[in-house]
Structures are given as C-alpha cells and as structure tokens.
C-alpha cells in the first residue's frame, strides 16, 4: 500500500504504476460527470468544448454549488456510485481518454477490461468526504451543460492535493472489492450453513 501524489493530466505510466489499495492525492484540473452528460457523449456524440487530452480525470459526482458574486464555489462535493455508469464506462474511456475515475463503489467487468486495455484506474472515496473534497477545490474554472441542472452539469475545477482516494481498480485487472468480497463470501457461507440455509428454497408459487 503506497501513497502517491500525482499531477493531472495523468500519464499512461502514472496509472500503470498504481496497484489496488494504493492511496492517491491529485493536483490539477478535474471535471464532473453524472448520467446525463455521459449519455449525451455515448448516445448522441455531444461533447462539451473541453480539451480532454489535458483533462483526464472524471469525477462521478453531483456537487452542491453556490454562486458568490460572479463565481461559483462548491459547498459540498462527495463522489457518487460509479457502478450505475457501468454501461457507459468502456465508451467513455475510449472517447474521452479518461485515465482515472473518481467515484464511490466500483465498476463492472466491461469497464475493467477497457481500463486494462487503455490505461485507466478507478479511485474510491475514503468515508464521507464532501466537505474535505470541497475544501481542496482552489477554483471553479468553467461550467458546461448547466441547463441539465447543477448536479448534472459538467464542472471544471482546479484541485490541490485532493484526496485521499483509494485505488480500487488498477490497470492489471485487479479489483479491491473482489478481493474483500472473496473473504466476505466465505464467512457468509459459514453463516448460511449455521442456519441450515444451504439448500433452502423459497416456496415457489409460479408456473
């Protein structure tokens, strides 16, 4: 378990050097994305005017934002569950050249495959961190798709020493949650055994 501080844009080498369980801090420009933006990219090929070769860290998040004078500031920023975007993951990586997703939970097999192939990792939050992350935002650079609503808009922000995030999917095909779950499953098996549930089936009233 290593701790690394990386600068965005992340290079192929940066992400290939990470392993599940590593702790990462980031500096540079990030952008936010939820379902509507990703659906536009995947289904309609609508991309906001962002230089994705410079911005390659996508945060799955719907921030709470506040306008102070002419500028926006995040009130709270806690990443959301990435697994909900699994269907969109492989295309998003290919089209936008994402090197790291910051999110919660994990992603599925197809996205993991694309991450291995193109060089991309998934970074998970540590606890509830909406205020910690908001404080690490130095400024809001620009916003796109604001008509989709504040949580669904694409916010470009500059962050400083943002984190900690835990690498839960690396580019070598490893998933931290699969590893934890293999142990959890074994213990659950013993519990099912203890309660005599191994061969239990619910009453079936279907055809």
């Amino acid at each position: 378990m290593a701790t690394k501080r990386l600068t965005i844009p992340l290079s192929q080498e940066d992400v290939r050097g990470l392993k599940v369980g590593d702790i990462v801090y980031l500096d540079g420009l990030i952008y936010t994305a939820r379902s509507l933006f990703q659906l536009q990219v995947v289904e309609q090929d609508i991309l906001p005017p962002i230089d994705f070769s410079r911005l390659n860290v996508m945060v799955h998040i719907g921030p709470v934002m506040k306008k102070v004078g002419d500028s926006w500031m995040p009130v709270s920023m806690a990443p959301t569950s990435s697994i909900r975007f699994e269907k969109l993951g492989p295309t998003i990586i290919k089209k936008l050249g994402v090197r790291a997703f910051i999110g919660k939970t994990t992603m599925g097999e197809k996205t993991m495959q694309a991450m291995k192939e193109y060089g991309c990792v998934h970074l998970s939050v540590v606890g509830v961190m909406g205020n910690i992350f908001a404080k690490q935002v130095k400024r809001v650079v620009e916003v796109h798709n604001l008509e989709l609503g504040i949580p669904e808009a694409t916010w470009v922000m500059e962050v400083e020493n943002a984190g900690p995030f835990i690498v839960d999917i690396d580019t070598h095909g490893n998933n931290l949650f699969h590893q934890v779950n293999a142990e959890v499953e074994k213990r659950f098996d013993q519990v099912y055994e203890k309660y005599g549930l191994k061969d239990f089936a619910y009453t079936n009233v279907g055809a």
Binding site: M65, V126, G127, V128, N131, P151, I166, T203
Partner: protein, 309 residues
C-alpha cells in the same frame, strides 16, 4: 388538556429548521456509535474511512455550517401530533408548509435539488413535486405536543438498500433469515449503501405497511434502541454480530465496523402470507426532531419516538 394552536409561520419554522439541522448536524447517537466502532476496529482502511467521515462531518461540517453530505436525498417528514393540537388553516397546512420549507432550503443550498420526473428525468429544481416531500402524520392520544421529524434520506442507501418479498408461512424463520442475509450481502457489496448502516427490516402487514415499518425502523429508531419483544430484540443483536463477523466493513472495503444497528419491526399479517421488507439507512443517519409544547416552547432533539405497536 391545554389546547396548542400552531401558527403557519411557526409550522414553517419547525419544518425548515428541522430539515436544515438534519442536513448539517450529525445525531449524537450516530457520533457516539461511530467513535466506538473506531475504537474497536483493527482494519487500517476501515478506520481511515470512519475517521475521515468524522472529520468531514464535525470539523469541516458542523463547525463550519456545511452539509454533512451533498446527497441530501429525498425530503421526508414524520409528524406526531396530540389531539389537543390545532394548526392555523387546518391540518392541510402541513403539506403546504413542508413544500415551502423544502423549496426554500433548496434555494439556500441546504438541500441539493435531487428530485426529478421519473421518466423525463427533468429536475423539478426545488425538491418538491408529486407526493414529495412525504408527510406522514400520526395522531397520538397520549401526548399534548407536536413533533415534526425531518429525514433527508440519501440516495445510495435508498436505491441500493431496498428489497421486498412475499414469502409463505412454510418459509418461516428460515425464509426470514435467508432474506435478511441475502439483502445484507447484496446491499453492502462495494459500499453501495454507504456502510456502516442502520438496517431496517419489516415483517408482516401488507406490502405497503411492510415497507413502511422497515423504513421507519431504519430512519427513525435511535441507535441502540431495542424492540420490546425479546425474541425480536435478540434477533436484532444476532444480525448485528453476523454483519461484524462477515466483515464487509465501512464502504465495503473490509473490517468489522460495517454496521451501526439493526432494527426489526413486525406488523400482524394475513394468515396466508409472510411479507418481508428491507431498507437501509446510510452512515450519517440524518434526522432531527422539532417539538412544540402547549406553552409555545420549541425544542430540537435527535431522538424520534415513532413506534406504533
């Protein structure tokens, strides 16, 4: 019993303040339980999760008047009211003032605008719309006050932590146990429900009663409270231990501290069936009670009294 007349302005204040306080102040029983989980936890990543949550919510949250979590969820209100209570303009003011309070709290960035049309996905912009906020009213002949309980119910625990099944009498206790274990395994994987959770389990009733008591057990019963029926109370503690042993941990990354509590409620049910429901509450278990008494005093607390047994 002395009459209590609540003005619309006061009602609005109770509803606005309770939902804003719920979104910005961690209930004391939740704090205590997370601290005791940190003290017992030996897994390093698990402790990091819990300590980060506390720092986020106390030093950078409460002390700076920031939200505990940006997902302020779906606004729910539970109102418990004595027979001596009257409301200016009649009881339907509960619906009107709840909409005003939630809409204003959203405009003031105390609630995130989460609510959308389920099919067009268009945001209502102010968190109000058909059926939302939910206002659940209970008339209680034994009290002379009114409690307004606000619960901003987060999306992760609601979306990934809700299950329902109709079983049959022959499925019995084994069926109940299998359902509970399956739900825990499914919902805590990869931290989908933001563990450590409070898990609510409803057994019996009709489909809607069953889910309602499961949700109320999850979001309203304080941590450490036990069902008065000893059999049920024992089962609650047994399931807590099972989750600790299984070791999915906070945010599903391993450890013994993946549960705040398990609350089980039952309702009498039709002799032909055995409905069961599961609803998870997230690690913050946000809730606030605003109470107004006949002398006009308003007090706020973290401890709802809602059970109807």
């Amino acid at each position: 019993m002395q009459e209590l007349l609540v003005s619309r302005k006061t009602l609005y204040d109770l509803m606005y303040n309770s939902i804003v306080m719920a979104a910005t102040i961690m209930p004391s029983d939740v704090k205590d339980e997370i601290l005791s989980l940190i003290a017992e936890e030996t897994n390093e990543i698990a402790r990091l999760h819990l300590e980060s949550t506390m720092r986020n919510c106390i030093e950078l949250g409460e002390k700076e008047d920031r939200l505990l979590c940006p997902d302020t969820g779906t606004p729910l209100y539970y109102v418990r009211v004595g027979n001596n209570v009257r409301i200016e303009g009649g009881f339907s003011a509960l619906y009107d003032e709840s909409k005003k309070a939630v809409s204003d709290a959203t405009a003031n960035a105390k609630l995130r605008p989460n609510m959308v049309h389920p099919i067009t996905r268009k945001s209502t912009g102010n968190n109000i719309g058909h059926y939302v906020p939910r206002v659940e009213i209970r008339f209680d002949p034994d009290i002379d006050y009114m409690d307004v309980i606000a619960v901003p119910k987060g999306g992760g625990s609601e979306i990934f932590g809700t299950f329902y099944r109709v079983m049959y009498p022959a499925d019995g206790r084994k069926g109940i146990m299998k359902f509970i274990l399956d739900c825990i395994k499914e919902s805590t994987y990869a931290g989908k429900t933001c563990p450590p959770n409070v898990l609510g389990i409803g057994i019996g009733g009709t489909a809607d009663i069953c889910m309602k008591i499961a949700k109320e057990a999850a979001v309203l019963r304080p941590i450490g409270s036990r069902h008065p029926d000893k059999d049920i109370a024992d089962l609650e503690l047994e399931v807590v231990e099972l989750i600790k042993t299984a070791g999915a941990g906070p945010m599903g990354m391993g450890g013994t501290s993946g549960v705040l509590d398990v609350h089980i409620e039952y309702a009498v049910t039709h002799t032909a069936g055995l409905p069961i429901a599961f609803n998870a509450q997230c690690a913050l278990s946000r809730r606030k009670v605003a109470r107004i008494t006949p002398d006009g005093q308003i007090t706020y607390s973290d401890f709802p009294q809602w059970e109807y047994r």
